[in-house]
Amino acid sequence: MLDAIYFDQNIKEKIEIAKYLGYDELILIFEEINFEKINDTINKLKEIFQMNFYSCILVDNFKKLRKVSNVKAHKQFDLLFVNGINLKINREAVENVFVDGLVNPQQNRDDAGFNHIFAKKALKNNVALIINFNQILNSQNLTREIEKLIELIKIARKYKLKVGIFSFAKTKFDLKDPIIFSSFLYCLGYELKDAKRIVKNSIKDIINENLKKRSEKWIFPGVELI
């Protein structure tokens, strides 16, 4: 089971609760771009908790995105997520080869912020659709938010997009049991089998591919030293 949580001062408390809830791997989300610090903390936490940790950078503007979307920078972390705060950045995220996930494209909008054109581009560039459960839970209009999610899931199912659902916990109380996520996906329109698969290893393929990219032999998509 895989979950994504924010990296902050209460990280150890959150990891312990996540372990109790049944997660064996965690994605740590960093908003600051400091590669040395990120890699140090990941290595330290791996030693303490004997768990798999993956580093993820969450960007929400073009300036940061340009800074990290290149081969040299991408070798310093495992995942790159883009927060879908507006349509322009959503479009940029699905067109960028270095981006691994688009988080909640429906934010600050009346519609889903994601259509069939975006879906085709995302499929081509291997960008997953990520659901931030914590943000949905704290939204002002939950009904509208769920409505948009149903629309997103409909598109994702049609184009066979990779989907991930994570708690994006800022405190330990934001963490949720994995079975809650699979049931929620079922309620949104997925088959139970697919919902369970998504929660178990949704974006594992992307992570494994990115781990390969971090080796020195990897040069560019399709180009590798043998």
Binding site: K176, D177, I180
Partner: protein, 116 residues
């Protein structure tokens, strides 16, 4: 005149009409102590807010307490809806909570075994 007590229990329904039950045992983690009555009210209110009164009737939702275990009873169709509703329960009486689903079963006996 026959009293209410003298009336025998209704005969059990035939299997095709009988509802298939599911039991879910959960554990509530919180920094503060929470009373059973508070849990009961919060769970009912949460489902009512999310799905409405009519759906609550359809779910045939009940709550039982067995020592430390909190057992939720529902029909087998509504099981995912009950579990997903637990994700929307952030606090009980302004006390923040984390909910862990311990086990799901068709009988209470097996549920207790699984929950250990």
């Amino acid at each position: 005149m026959t009293s209410y007590r003298s009336i025998k229990r209704l005969k059990a329904l035939i299997p095709t009409l009988r509802e298939r039950k599911r039991y879910v045992s959960i554990k509530i983690i919180s920094d503060e102590k929470i009373e059973k009555e508070e849990i009961k009210n919060a769970l009912y209110e949460n489902i009512k807010n999310l799905y409405g009164k009519f759906a609550l009737a359809y779910l045939s939702f009940r709550i039982k307490f067995d020592k430390d275990l909190i057992i939720l009873k529902c029909n087998h169709i509504s099981l995912p809806f009950i579990i997903s509703s637990l994700g929307f329960l952030k606090e009980i009486n302004r006390k923040k909570v984390i909910i862990k689903v311990l086990a799901i079963s068709g009988t209470i006996k097996k549920l207790k075994l699984k929950s250990i």
